[in-house]
């Protein structure tokens, strides 16, 4: 088996984490409905929340936190690569819409 260095959480811990996830989801949906109140902060906030949930699931449920460095780098590499490449594409094509038409 894998050489995990840190202890995996207990079931109780898992349930707690799941509750946090649930609360965050509720918050997201609420934000969606009170968009008018929050104004232009809504979208960044929503993204922030999603990233939070993402990190929690990857880190704890998938045990990435406890995983070998190699795996961490790999996954992070894929993430960063995708983010950078696709941001550029979006900027390029988004701008095209904006300026050229």
């Amino acid at each position: 088996m894998s050489a995990d260095h840190k202890e995996h959480p207990t079931p109780k811990k898992y349930v707690q984490i799941a509750i946090v996830l649930g609360v965050l989801t509720a918050l997201e949906v609420t934000l969606y409905y009170i968009e008018d109140l929050v104004g232009s902060f809504t979208d960044p906030l929503l993204i922030f929340l999603a990233v939070g949930k993402y990190i929690i699931v990857v880190g704890w449920f998938m045990h990435l936190r406890f995983e070998n460095k190699m795996v961490n780098r790999f996954f992070a590499g894929g993430m960063i690569l995708a983010l950078v490449l696709f941001t550029i594409v979006m900027l390029e094509r988004g701008m095209a819409n904006f300026f050229f038409n």
Binding site: M70, G78, L81, V84, L85, I88, R93, A96
Partner: protein
């Protein structure tokens, strides 16, 4: 007396395949060596087909306003030529090398997932056959509303959108018929095949290295395999999705790339080249690896700056992801993007230069043994530098707007693909020939092959530089007499036939030497890496005993010491060591367990083309056949244990 190692014939639900020789042993094999050899032969076959297509192109272009081919046929030919050469020739030949050599170079008995490896191969075969079945089943024609004076012949009923299938031209409206569907779905299957092998190689390299084979002791070829696997793993998903879009557009009425429906044709360019540029490094890095093995061996010197070469390889791979839009300098991108991508493209010259100069450092001061593999490696450096430098002239964006879509580009990429990748591959084929077949190739024929190829190659692709700069646009079926380009085009066409001649010489050598060549010793080149410590041809079990590696170029250091001046001196023990290795290599002491052959990879793989046909012809029965094959394949796979006991028995030879 040799020991024959046989799997126990035990039955699971299905009877396990158990033939050691003959047809079924190849079909069901999961042995990386056999898979490698099959990749090699099949890819070479496609290389010949792609080459024939090129010859047909060159006949058409030998004269201005020629009418040897119709427009439809010409367009189909260059599309299939490019697609074949890239996906069905160079990539799989590289895969042949990966398969055969990777486990040997890291001292493993096989790859991490042997059956997955067989699956990759059969998927690739399935994809290739599917793509080529377009010549039988496919149709192509004029765009909606357009007219043709004559029917499209069988030669023209093939994909005709160019190897990068720019949208919307390759969409249903402008390329009706099914040929482009064969292209999109065929590439999809081929992509899955490559993805699977990428995972396999990454895991193999990380986890299957023998004792002491630390990362920084791995041969450069293994390193380059690693880099290629990364490139594949991260670039193929992008094209897979983009090809999905194409298929949806063509079959299910979506409009991802059609402006009328709100789509975006330039998005296809981005997605294609996000894959396409890493792809060209997928094509060249294996050759870099091969050359990095050949040069030190035949110079009798260690590779100059091993670490730099390794990191440069990864640098190329990494930067290679950030330059895709250099294929779009004339397309609809902003000047800021032009500048940014121009600069990032230039930067690639730096790590590549590091490699070139380190190779020169390797031969400098060496004792060069100019055997055929070495000639190809040296030729590789020369030819690749020409291609690389013309690449740098493309990165000068304003200059590229003159060059793009002309034969100057065609010259560039043939210099890097043929002068680079192919020369490297030929070098590798000669270099490892003895290891694979246990016989030596014919040196004289090898030398003749090299020189005819060198001449033919430069005659073919050299003149394309000025043809392009002086106005010949690529993918043109005819060019006007008044452009005065006829003379050099004729030279180019003659050159192409000289290349064909050289390939015939190569084939003759191969066929002759495999049967009648001298018996090869197991270390004919006095080589450096551990694949040469085992007998030629490689026994099924690779290493009788897992080797333990103590240094980079372990084998060399076992044979040679350095004197005070730093010169290599053969150890007294070297000869005894070689004898001992040979003895050990042929006679494993322990019982060896090897992964068993399996029917399921080929069954699973054969399901996919049916899905392809099902999509094209909207046929539920075909989809069901595909689904059944897929289910049988994966179910059988899941319940079949990978390995069973082998019995070792003595047998008279």
């Amino acid at each position: 007396m040799t020991k024959i190692i046989e799997p126990a014939k035990r039955t699971n639900i299905f009877r396990r395949p158990s033939s050691e020789y003959g047809f079924w042993s190849w079909v069901t094999t999961v042995d990386h060596k056999k898979i490698g050899i099959m990749y090699g032969y099949a890819a070479f076959f496609f290389l010949l087909i792609g080459g024939l297509e090129a010859l047909v192109l060159r006949i058409q272009l030998a004269q201005p306003d020629n009418s040897f081919l119709s427009a439809a046929e010409y367009n189909a030919m260059f599309t299939m030529h490019g697609t074949t050469m890239v996906f069905l020739a160079i990539m799989p030949i590289s895969a042949a090398f990966f398969n055969y050599l990777l486990p040997l170079q890291i001292g493993a008995r096989d790859v991490a997932f042997p059956r997955l490896n067989a699956l990759s191969f059969w998927l690739w075969v399935a994809g290739g056959l599917f793509l080529y079945s377009t010549f039988i089943f496919g149709t192509a024609g004029a765009p909606e509303g357009g007219y043709l004076a004559e029917e499209v012949g069988w030669l023209g009923n093939a994909p005709n959108g160019g190897w990068f299938g720019y949208q919307p031209n390759a969409g249903f409206k402008y390329s009706p018929g099914t040929a482009m569907d064969y292209w999109a779905l065929g590439l999809q299957i081929l992509g899955i095949s490559s993805l699977v092998s990428a995972f396999n190689f990454i895991v193999t390299i990380i986890n299957m290295r023998t004792k002491g084979m630390r990362f920084m002791r791995m041969p450069v070829f293994t390193w380059m395999t690693f880099a290629v696997a990364f490139l594949l793993a991260f670039s193929l998903p992008i094209i897979a999705i983009a090809l999905f879009y194409v298929t949806f557009d063509r079959q299910f009425g979506t409009t991802f790339f059609l402006v009328e429906g709100g789509g975006d044709p330039v998005l296809w360019q981005h997605l294609f080249w996000l894959f396409g540029h890493p792809e060209v490094y997928i094509l060249i890095l294996p050759a870099f690896g091969i050359v990095s093995e050949i040069l030190p061996t035949f110079s009798r010197k260690p590779l100059f700056g091993y670490a730099a070469i390794v990191f440069a390889g990864f640098g190329i791979a990494f930067i290679g992801f950030g330059v895709w839009a250099h294929h779009m300098f004339a397309s609809a991108i902003s000047p800021v993007a032009q500048a940014g991508f121009g600069l990032s493209t230039m930067v690639i010259a730096v790590p590549t230069g590091v490699k070139i100069f380190n190779w020169l450092g390797t031969i400098w001061g060496g004792k060069l043994n100019l055997k055929t593999p070495m000639l190809f490696a040296l030729g590789f450096i020369g030819m690749f530098v020409i291609g690389g430098l013309s690449g740098v002239t493309h990165s000068i964006v304003p200059a590229d707007t003159q060059q793009t879509d002309t034969y100057y580009i065609v010259a560039h990429f043939h210099y890097v693909l043929f002068g680079g990748a192919m020369f490297g591959i030929f070098g590798g084929l000669y270099y490892w020939f003895p290891k694979v077949w246990g016989r030596m190739y014919n040196e004289t024929l090898g030398q003749i092959h090299f020189w005819t190829m060198m001449i033919g190659f430069n005659l073919t692709f050299g003149p394309m530089h000025w043809l392009g700069l002086q106005g010949q646009v690529r993918r043109t079926w005819v060019y006007a007499e008044e452009t005065n380009l006829g003379f050099w085009n004729l030279i180019v066409s003659i050159g192409a036939f000289i290349i064909a001649l050289s390939i015939l010489i190569f084939m003759a050598n191969w066929i002759y030497s495999r049967r009648k060549g001298e018996k090869a010793p197991f270390d004919p080149w006095d080589a450096r890496t551990i694949e040469w410590t085992i007998p030629s041809p490689t026994p099924v079990w690779n290493f009788s005993k897992a080797p333990e590696v103590k240094a980079l170029d372990d084998f060399w250091h076992a044979k040679y010491d350095e004197d005070e001046e730093g010169r290599a001196v053969r150890r007294d023990t070297a000869d005894a060591l070689l004898l001992q290795l040979e003895e050990e290599g042929l006679n494993p002491e322990e019982e060896i367990e090897l992964p068993n052959p399996s029917y399921f990879p080929i069954i699973l793989a054969s399901g996919l083309p049916f899905f392809g046909y099902a999509v094209i012809y909207k046929s539920i029965p075909l989809a069901l056949i595909g689904a059944v094959l897929l289910l049988v394949g994966s179910f059988g796979w899941a319940i079949e244990p990978l390995e069973e006991e082998f019995t070792t028995k003595e047998e008279e030879e």
